[in-house]
Subunit: 221 residues, 2 copies
Amino acid sequence: MDAMLDTEGKETSATHGAYRKLREMILTGELPPGQKLKIEQLRGMLDTGASPVREALSLLTSDMLVERIDQRGFRAAPVSKCNFEEILMLRCNLEETALRKSIANANSAWEDRLVLRHHHMKKASQKGALDFEDAHKAFHMALLDNAKLPLLLRYCSQLYDLNIRYRYLAAGGSSYKKRDINAEHQEILDAALDRDAESATRHLIDHYRRTGEYLSSQMDS
Amino acid sequence: MDAMLDTEGKETSATHGAYRKLREMILTGELPPGQKLKIEQLRGMLDTGASPVREALSLLTSDMLVERIDQRGFRAAPVSKCNFEEILMLRCNLEETALRKSIANANSAWEDRLVLRHHHMKKASQKGALDFEDAHKAFHMALLDNAKLPLLLRYCSQLYDLNIRYRYLAAGGSSYKKRDINAEHQEILDAALDRDAESATRHLIDHYRRTGEYLSSQMDS
DNA sequence: GCCTCCAAAAATATCGATATTATTTGACAT
DNA sequence: ATGTCAAATAATATCGATATTTTTGGAGGC
């Protein structure tokens, strides 16, 4: 019998656990872009077998965070200014579509969810950066999820992750926090609660473009 | 050096082979929507081990052709009218974006590629339906690939596959061919060669909407 | 009769080992 | 010296077996 050393009781399968940990390591830059991902090495870091690691890498491939080179293993997806700009463009396009649909379907249950997520995000911003990231994503996804379009939501989520990877890579988002992010979020929230699609999408896209321009300028230097 | 034109059977890895075969079986409906996908059963059908099958299923999960149920295996993704309509909407949105960019980047090399693909598709339409499907996708992707936006192209390719699955499910596309598909393709091609983005996108989207309406009506009955 | 619970069966998830394929190293010839 | 080739090394891809978990089926209680 195995001793139950399960300190974290939430992981159901080894594959899913490996997936989450690897994903975080790639997003935060702990596994830098382009780095060769050797099974043995990861097996050690994650303290699990080779099969879960391989499956997790397969899953990350479809999230476009890992590249598979035929018969030559895996590597962390590379980054480029081009790639970043494409992500930004697609986000603006897809999130605008989703937000408009969300607002078109607006009801009080959704408004409650939005207010709650926004509140949690503000609270989390005083705690650790990692908690904030989770709450930040939850807020943005809540803006979109009332569109009730699962494919679109999935793409938005993927692109969100690809984007925050660039934020982490650009110096941990130090100056990202200097901008008045809170005010920007408040404007988006207020417009959504007013069911003003024009205003909400404009604020949302400005929010992304502003972050995008800063990150883009960082990548030149 | 390698003058050998690999006309067929160039399966490098068992995983990739299993992926292709499973993908085709799901797209054509040989593995119907919602069906439980048991490893042992597939292992027999594909004549390979359990590991390649599992990895192939993982990859198909990210193509949204397979669903993974935690600790309970895999199943072919279900279908619904809702899902179909979302695919149609996203295709119209994303392919319009891609086609406009493609045309903006137009050059003679791209035009040559288009003409060639269109020619191959016409030729293949007199052969088997399976050859035609490949050539049809190649033509549509060629329309988009000059945008030089890999993420967008990938999404379009994914959505294309999800869409043709519905075509196969709706009676093998018998009446699909009754419409004058050739004329529609010719119009799109001509507009693209004229570098007329308005006309090209309008024809492309009409092309999808027409197919979409027909399939949608089929799903009601 | 219907529900609950436990044992048997089946299927999945994971491990350890092997075969295959890529990469490196170093000797040899030019 | 330099480039090529072959053996040694390292890493991947795959297999077979085991451990876990879910599902099934039936016996006993209400």
